[in-house]
C-alpha cells in the first residue's frame, strides 16, 4: 500500500519546505518515501506542487491518485481535485496559514510524533515562530489517515536526490573544481557543491563563468594541469559545450560533464523532465572520438556513476558524459547504503602540450597522412580498451524475476517507476536497466533473444534507446512495444503498471 500527498501552492508560499519536513519526518519514523517537485519557470505566484509518496515498502516513484491534498492556496484544490481518492483528506483553511501550520497538521494526520517535527524545525530559521505555527496546526487537526506504523524507526535511511548523489560522488572522487553556468535542472549541483564548499576541510571550489563555452574550456584548462575538474549543464548549455567536447576528444584531456536533461527542443519546458538527450550525449561534437556515456537511475547510482565517470575520464583521458534528467536530479528518495567508491589515479602528472590540432607525440600539430591515420588507429585502440574496462563494471542491471520470459528495458530515472509498477502490478517480468550507453553492453542481445515479450519504457518521443539497441545489436524493438511519455512528466507507477499489463496481453 502506498500513500500519496500533494502539497501545492504559489511559488514563495513554501510548498517545498513543508514537503521536506514532512517527508523527513516519515523517513525518521521508518517509512520509505519519494517526492518529486513540479514547478513553473517563475519566482512568485503560479502553481507549484510536490507529490510525496510513502509506504512501508521501497518507494521510488509517485502514483497518480491522491490520499491527502494540502492546499496552500485555493488554486491547488481546483487543479488536483479530480485525482482525489474516495475519502481523501483535503487540508485547507478559510484563510491561508503560515506554511508550518500545514506541516503540523500533516504530522497529526499521518500519526507522526511532534518531536520529530520539532527536530526538523531546529534546522531552519525562525524556530520560535515555526514551532508555534506547527503546534497550532498539530493541535487543531483532528483527522487521521489511520495507517499502519513501521516496526523499526531506526533505519538510517537518507532522503536525497540525484543532484545530491552526483555532488557526493564527485567529492568522494577528489573533485577540485566544479565549473558551471546556471541552468535548470543542473543548477542544484552547483548550489549543493557551493554549500559543501563552506564546510571545514572542503577541498573543492565552485566557479561560475560567463557562458557554458567558457565553462567547458576552463574545465579542460584545469584538467590538463592534473586537477580533477567537472562541469554541469542542461541540454541548451551542452549544445554550447560541444566544441569543447570535441577538443577533449582530440587533445585527450580528461573531463566529466554532467548533462541534466529537460524537455527540448530549445528552451522547451525549462523546469520539467525528459530523456530526450540520449542522442545528444552519444553523438554530439564534430569528428570521431572516444567518449563514455553513463546514466544513473537513482541517487545512489548517481554517486557511484559519477565516481566511475572520474575513473574513466582520468584513466583513458576521455570525455565522460554523466546523463541524467530533472526527475533524477530533483526527486528525493531513500538511500539505504553508502555508495561504492573506487580509487582514481591521476593520468596527467607532468607538463605536456595538448593540441586541438591532430598532433604528434610531442603535442605539436601535424598534417601528414600517415600520422593522422595512426592517431585515429591509436584512439580506436583506446576505445576498445575503454569497452574492455567497462566490462569490469555493472554496465546493466537485471531486476525482478530473472527467469521471466517478459523483458522490460529502461535507462536512467524511469527505474523507480518501473520497479514500483512491477511490484504493485504483480507483473512477472525481468527488468533490464542499462547504465552504460557508451560503451554499450552488447551482450544484452542474449537477454533480448531469450525474451518472449519485450517492452521498452522511456521519457522521450522517439525511443532513443531502441535506436541505440538497434545500432549496437541489430535487434529491432517494434513500435507497439514502446511505452513512451513525452509531456515533461515522469511516469506514475500505477498508470505504468496498467500500461505494461495492457501491452503484455
Amino acid at each position: 500500500m502506498r500513500f500519496n500527498i500533494i502539497i501545492g501552492g504559489k511559488a514563495g508560499q513554501g510548498p517545498n519546505i513543508v514537503t521536506e519536513v514532512v517527508s523527513q519526518g516519515l523517513v525518521s519514523a521508518g517509512y520509505h518515501a519519494f517526492y518529486a517537485r513540479e514547478y513553473e519557470s517563475l519566482i512568485r505566484g503560479g502553481h507549484n506542487y510536490n507529490t510525496l509518496t510513502f509506504s512501508l515498502i521501497a518507494t521510488r516513484s509517485n502514483q497518480s491518485k491522491i490520499d491527502i491534498l494540502v492546499c496552500l492556496d485555493d488554486n491547488t484544490e481546483k487543479v488536483h481535485k479530480e485525482n482525489l481518492k474516495k475519502n481523501a483528506i483535503v487540508l485547507k483553511y478559510k484563510e491561508p496559514k503560515e506554511n508550518m501550520h500545514y506541516a503540523g497538521a500533516l504530522y497529526k494526520i499521518l500519526g507522526l510524533d511532534f518531536r520529530i517535527l520539532e527536530n526538523q524545525l531546529r534546522k531552519l530559521k525562525n524556530l520560535d515562530e515555526n514551532l508555534r505555527e506547527a503546534r497550532k496546526g498539530f493541535n487543531d487537526e483532528t483527522r487521521s489517515l489511520g495507517i499502519e506504523k513501521p516496526q523499526n524507526s531506526n533505519t538510517g535511511f537518507k532522503l536525497i536526490n540525484g543532484n545530491h548523489g552526483i555532488s557526493e560522488g564527485a567529492i568522494k572522487s577528489g573533485l577540485q573544481y566544479y565549473y558551471s553556468y546556471p541552468m535548470t535542472p543542473a543548477t542544484p549541483v552547483m548550489m549543493m557543491l557551493g554549500d559543501m564548499m563552506m564546510e571545514k576541510d572542503a577541498k573543492h571550489k565552485v566557479i561560475e563563468l560567463e557562458s557554458e563555452i567558457a565553462v567547458v574550456i576552463a574545465t579542460l584548462g584545469s584538467s590538463l594541469m592534473g586537477a580533477r575538474a567537472m562541469c554541469g549543464t542542461s541540454g541548451g548549455g551542452f549544445d554550447l559545450m560541444t566544441e569543447g567536447l570535441s577538443m577533449a576528444g582530440q587533445a585527450e584531456i580528461p573531463i566529466v560533464i554532467y548533462l541534466s536533461s529537460r524537455p527540448g527542443p530549445s528552451t522547451g519546458l525549462a523546469t520539467y523532465s525528459s530523456q530526450g538527450d540520449l542522442d545528444l550525449a552519444l553523438y554530439s561534437g564534430h569528428g570521431e572520438f572516444n567518449r563514455v556515456v553513463i546514466a544513473p537511475g537513482d541517487a545512489l547510482e548517481s554517486a557511484e556513476l559519477t565516481n566511475q565517470g572520474f575513473y574513466f575520464s582520468q584513466k583513458f583521458r576521455t570525455p565522460v558524459i554523466l546523463l541524467g534528467d530533472k526527475n533524477l536530479a530533483e526527486s528525493k528518495s531513500v538511500v539505504e547504503t553508502e555508495p561504492k567508491i573506487i580509487e582514481i589515479i591521476n593520468s596527467i602528472t607532468s607538463m605536456e602540450k595538448f593540441n586541438s590540432y591532430e598532433h604528434n607525440e610531442a603535442g605539436i600539430a601535424i598534417e601528414d597522412a600517415e600520422t593522422t591515420a595512426k592517431n585515429f588507429d591509436r584512439r580506436a585502440k583506446i576505445g576498445k580498451e575503454i569497452a574492455r574496462e567497462a566490462q569490469k563494471f555493472e554496465m546493466y542491471k537485471i531486476h525482478g524475476n530473472k527467469n521471466s520470459k517478459n523483458l522490460i528495458i529502461g535507462w536512467g530515472s524511469t527505474k523507480g517507476a518501473i520497479l514500483d509498477a512491477m511490484h504493485d502490478g504483480n507483473i512477472d517480468a525481468k527488468f533490464l536497466q542499462i547504465l552504460y550507453l557508451e560503451p554499450f553492453p552488447e551482450k544484452i542481445l542474449d537477454e533480448l533473444k531469450k525474451a518472449n515479450k519485450i517492452l521498452i519504457v522511456e521519457n522521450n518521443a522517439t525511443s532513443q534507446l531502441s535506436k541505440l539497441i538497434a545500432t549496437k545489436t541489430g535487434f529491432i524493438i517494434e513500435d507497439k512495444n514502446k511505452i513512451l511519455r513525452y509531456d515533461g512528466r515522469a511516469f506514475f507507477s500505477d498508470e505504468l503498471a496498467e500500461e505494461i499489463k495492457r501491452r503484455m496481453r
Binding site: 574550456i217 576552463a218 585527450e252 607538463m351 602540450k353
Partner: protein, 276 residues
C-alpha cells in the same frame, strides 16, 4: 587494470625553449619578430632561475597561434576564440603558474569577445597577447572587427562599411588592469612582456602585426611614438583613454600618431584565482 592511457611524452625540461617544429609562417612574416621577442623573454626568465615547468602557453586558432608549436612549453593549443577560458582554468588549478595566451584579432575581437571583456573584469593573473594583423589571414583575407573602412576582399567586394572597433578603449572601459600596445618588433615585444611579467593581474598586450600578404603595412612603423618616453602617466585612466583615442585603427593619414607602450596599469586590483 590496464596501464594509464598516454598519447604523449612529457616535455623535457633540460632542452631549449625552442622546438624543432617546421615553421610555416610566410617568409618575412612579422610573427617571427613576435616569436623572437617571446623566446628572448622566456630565455631571460630561465637565466634568472625560473623553472620551465612554471610556464604554460595557450593559443587559439589562426596564424598567430602556430606559435604554440614553436615554443617548447606545456599547455594547450585551444579553439578559435577560446584562449582565455583555458588560461583561466590553468590559473585556477595552479595560481602560481606563469600563463601566456596568444591569440589574433579574429579570436580576440570576433569569436572570443565575450571572454575578453570578462577577462578584464576577472583580472586573472595571466598575460594575453593579441597578434593584430587586422585580417583573417589563414582563411585568406576576410575582414575582422578591426579592419579599416573600405578594405576589400572577395567576400566584401563593395568594401568594409563598418568602422573598426578600438580594443584599447574597450579594455580600459572593461577594467583591464594592464593595457599595452606594441609593434611587432623583437625588442618591443620582449620589453612589454618583461613589464607585464612584473604586473600582478590580467595583462592585455596588443601587437600591431601587419600581414605582409593580405594586409600590408600601411606605414604604421613611421607613425609610432612611445607613451613612456612621452611622459604618459600609466596610472591615470583618463589620460589612458585619451591616448587610446589618438588612433582609431581606421588606416593612417597625414598626422596620424600611433601610441605604443603601456596605456594603463593598476597593480591594486584583486586577482580572480585569489578571490574564488
Amino acid at each position: 587494470m590496464a596501464k594509464q592511457s598516454k598519447s604523449k611524452k612529457p616535455i623535457k625540461t633540460n632542452v631549449s625553449i625552442r622546438t624543432n617544429a617546421t615553421n610555416t609562417w610566410c617568409p618575412g612574416c612579422y610573427n617571427f619578430q613576435i616569436l623572437a621577442g617571446v623566446q628572448n623573454f622566456l630565455e631571460n626568465q630561465m637565466k634568472m632561475g625560473k623553472n620551465r615547468d612554471d610556464f604554460s602557453i595557450v593559443s587559439g586558432i589562426g596564424c598567430n597561434s602556430k606559435i604554440f608549436d614553436y615554443i617548447n612549453l606545456g599547455g594547450l593549443n585551444s579553439l578559435h576564440g577560446r584562449v582565455i577560458p583555458a588560461c583561466i582554468g590553468i590559473k585556477v588549478a595552479k595560481p602560481s603558474q606563469n600563463v601566456f595566451g596568444f591569440s589574433g584579432d579574429g579570436d580576440s575581437y570576433a569569436e572570443g569577445m565575450e571572454h575578453l571583456i570578462h577577462a578584464a573584469r576577472y583580472n586573472s593573473n595571466f598575460k594575453y597577447i593579441v597578434h593584430n594583423n587586422q585580417v583573417f589571414a589563414l582563411t585568406i583575407a576576410e575582414p575582422t572587427p578591426v579592419t579599416e573602412k573600405g578594405y576589400k576582399d572577395k567576400t566584401t567586394p563593395k568594401g568594409v562599411k563598418l568602422a573598426p572597433m578600438n580594443p584599447i578603449k574597450l579594455m580600459l572601459a572593461a577594467g583591464a588592469s594592464f593595457v599595452a600596445r606594441v609593434f611587432a618588433d623583437v625588442n618591443q615585444v620582449q620589453q612589454v612582456l618583461e613589464e607585464a611579467q612584473k604586473h600582478k593581474g590580467f595583462a592585455f598586450i596588443e601587437v600591431i602585426q601587419p600581414c605582409i600578404i593580405f594586409h600590408a603595412d600601411a606605414g604604421y612603423k613611421d607613425k609610432l611614438y612611445n607613451l613612456q618616453k612621452s611622459g604618459h602617466n600609466k596610472a591615470d585612466l583618463k589620460a589612458a583613454m585619451e591616448k587610446a583615442e589618438e588612433w582609431d585603427y581606421n588606416g593612417v593619414k597625414t598626422g596620424t600618431k600611433i601610441p605604443v607602450g603601456i596605456f594603463y596599469q593598476n597593480d591594486n586590483k584583486p586577482v580572480f584565482e585569489e578571490l574564488i
